[in-house]
């Protein structure tokens, strides 16, 4: 792709201009794609051009402005790619550098029987998951999904056959690498299919660099009857990055999804979760933690669609906002007509460390059945004065007491994680975030 060879002026429409240049490049190239994919890409390109970038009046973007996209300009190159974390020798790791498979950095050894992990381009040519591909994250009518479908140049395919168990988490590391492109952009695509009764853990980490970059990843998760998936998504991109990602999942009968989204990085980030509870007894639980500091905007937009009876969903989100940090939480629960015996819970708690921080928390319920248990609550506040006093009354200084309580507030999300190694590394990261941003500035 040659989208970054031309540096467009940072002006109105610059993003769209750059996008259409890369689209032309993509169409011209069409390398080894199978015929069905070529056709899909052509349709996606037409969608991108027809839809145009969503404007400020688009309902889905009312609280999150895309203006920063037009200002995204290549800077003088600052440093290289972030260092890869150290992996255990038996870890399953697939690295995508600016959205493309990096064989050198990946480790895909000793897969258990019934488990297939492959770079997406290979899988698309061989496995022909065409019928299911793009079924959950549809390109029709969706600008960013269409952009991803037109431009993706790599990704991950994971399939577990019936009853298969992936004994170790599959770690997908997305690297933004400015040494390869002046304005790195990534449109990675992850496609996961868990057949009946299969079980796996997938961890997606988005690591960034100092300069400007754009990530537009799409992850599709298909859980067939009784399948279980633990899915964590950690966004740690650089301070100039823009990250707009979507996770689309479909849960069939008795399937269970345990999801987590943590946001530390980027200037503008959105993670969308679109979950369809399509079979009796399906359960989805999505937890989240966002920590926007000065100059950062973090958006979680979720839609949990109860299409079948006896389904459960839980959304549990916490945010700590520092400086002029902004956050958006939009959690929609939809219950289809006739979908009885539904249990849907949603909570979103926010801690504002500065009077300049702002959060829009908008629960949204759309219920077309009557036997439904639904609860939702959003709180926005400061640290509990009683708890602060208790700690100080034992000799702990004011600042340390605040740090302790702030940590505890966020750690309630992390402590629910079953994987010890991941949990303790996130806890360490949280402590270092708090050391930099955790001090409460005076409220007016």
């Amino acid at each position: 792709m040659n989208e970054t060879l031309v540096a467009p002026p940072a002006s109105e429409g610059a993003f769209l201009l750059r996008a259409s240049q890369s689209l032309q490049g993509a169409l011209a190239r069409q390398k080894g794609d199978p015929a069905w994919l070529c056709a899909r890409r052509a349709q996606a390109v037409a969608q991108v051009q027809a839809l145009g970038l969503p404007g400020p009046r688009a309902e889905a973007w009312r609280f999150t402005s895309l203006r920063a996209l037009d200002k995204l300009a290549p800077l003088a190159r600052i440093g290289g790619a972030p260092a890869l974390p150290a992996f255990a020798p038996d870890a399953l790791v697939l690295v995508l550098r600016n959205g493309r498979f990096d064989a050198q950095a990946s480790q895909l050894r000793a897969l258990p029987p019934g488990v297939a992990v492959a770079p997406l381009e290979r899988a698309l040519a061989e496995e022909r998951p065409a019928a299911r591909f793009g079924e959950l994250a549809r390109a029709e009518g969706h600008f960013f999904n269409a952009l991803n479908e037109a431009l993706f140049d790599g990704g991950v395919f994971l399939r577990l056959e019936s009853g298969a168990v992936l004994d170790r988490p599959l770690q997908i590391v997305h690297l933004v690498d400015p040494s390869a492109e002046a304005l790195p952009s990534a449109h990675a695509r992850v496609h996961v299919i868990l057949e009946r009764g299969a079980s796996a853990h997938v961890l997606e980490r988005y690591l960034g660099a100092e300069g400007a970059s754009f990530s537009n990843p799409v992850t599709e998760l298909l859980l067939q009857e009784g399948a279980r998936l633990g899915y964590a998504r950690l966004q740690e991109e650089g301070p100039q990055a823009i990250h707009l990602g979507r996770v689309a999942a479909r849960l069939e009968r008795d399937a269970a999804l345990q999801g987590l989204s943590v946001m530390w990085g980027a200037q503008l980030a959105r993670a969308e979760f679109h979950v369809e509870l399509a079979g009796n007894g399906a359960e989805a639980s999505i937890d989240g933690l966002y920590l926007p500091a000065e100059g950062q905007h973090h958006d979680h937009t979720l839609s949990l669609r109860h299409l079948a009876p006896h389904t459960q969903s839980r959304q549990s989100f916490r945010g700590i906002l520092a400086g002029n940090g902004r956050a958006v939480f939009r959690g929609q629960v939809y219950v289809a007509p006739g979908a009885q015996k539904i249990d849907a819970r949603q909570s979103c708690k926010n801690l504002l460390l500065s009077p300049r921080a702002w959060v829009d928390a908008l629960p949204q319920l759309e219920i077309h059945a009557d036997d439904v248990k639904c609860s939702h609550g959003a709180t926005i506040g400061r640290l509990d004065a009683e708890a602060l006093h208790y700690l100080r009354a034992r000799g702990i200084g004011r600042d340390e007491a605040r740090a302790l309580l702030t940590f505890a507030f966020a750690n309630e999300i992390l402590s629910a994680l079953p994987e010890e190694a991941l949990r303790s590394s996130l806890e360490a990261q949280l402590r270092s975030w708090l050391a930099t941003h955790g001090k409460e500035t005076t409220h007016a």
Binding site: E386, Y390, R392, A393, R394, G395
Partner: protein
């Protein structure tokens, strides 16, 4: 020769925005002494405990408090705790997400640091904490659980005394630590307190019941009513209050007030 007082409260007046609660309270406590305070609900016992430990909801409008020769009222909450003033709260709160052991080590290290002592590491702390937990017969598993989260009333009170045992204050206030305890828990808590009694350490025990004072024998008993200490005596006063209630004290007061006119 009498030793200098550890605690000296003179004519203390404190208020909340709505009303004055302590109307000139005086009390002197020597080193090693155990004083009990009894009094009807709403008389200001917890307010006294909070004012002495620096809670910011109360405004001091008169009087003075000296602790080991220093001006206690000039110190903030954590400075008082580090100087060795401890309160076993009447209603200990739950703090989700903060493990008891983690919190208490931070507290102990804050106290040690203020005394110029080195920090205690996690291993040594655990040894110490386990030993002290035994003292109040507290289940060691509570150490790794979030502070008081889901604890019963009795467990919370034990946890307060356990914290006292670890922090080893010079002056401890127990605010109705016995309320809601069954016989076994009461004995465990009392044993914890008695193990800490020493010629250097003083206690102020707030209670409604003589029962606690059978385990923790006080040197002095005071009656607090309407924001003042209105009567003081020896351990026998506690028994009388337990038996007869407070009405007679009030009547006696009204009588002397009338007679002195």
């Amino acid at each position: 020769m009498t030793r200098p007082a550890l605690f000296e409260i003179r004519d203390l007046k404190a208020r909340v925005p709505e009303a004055e609660i302590l109307h000139g309270l005086s009390l002197t406590i020597g080193p090693g002494e155990v004083h009990a305070i009894m009094g009807p609900n709403g008389s200001g016992k917890s307010t006294l405990a909070h004012v002495l430990t620096g809670r910011e909801d109360y405004e001091i409008v008169g009087g003075s408090v000296r602790f080991a020769g220093a001006d206690l009222l000039a110190m903030n909450v954590e400075e008082r705790a580090r100087a060795g003033v401890f309160l076993s709260f009447q209603y200990p709160i739950e703090i989700p997400g903060v493990a008891t052991a983690y919190f208490l080590r931070a507290a102990l290290n804050a106290v040690r640091k203020s005394k110029g002592l080195p920090e205690i590491d996690a291993m040594d702390f655990l040894t110490l904490a386990k030993e002290k937990a035994k003292l109040v017969q507290m289940d060691q598993r509570f150490l790794s659980r979030a502070l008081n989260e889901g604890f019963s009333g009795g467990e919370k009170k034990r946890n307060e005394i356990f914290q006292m045992a670890v922090l080893e204050p010079r002056f401890a206030i127990l605010d109705e630590t016995d309320s809601g305890l069954d016989v076994d828990a009461l004995r465990a808590v009392s044993n914890g307190v008695n193990a800490l009694r020493s010629p250097e350490r003083s206690f102020l025990v707030i209670t409604h019941y003589h029962r606690l004072l059978e385990h923790i024998r006080p040197d002095f008993v005071h009656v607090l009513m309407k924001g003042r200490i209105v009567k003081s005596g020896g351990p026998e006063l506690a028994l009388e209050l337990d038996r007869r209630g407070y009405q007679w004290v009030e009547e006696e007061l009204a009588g002397t007030a009338g007679a002195s006119r």
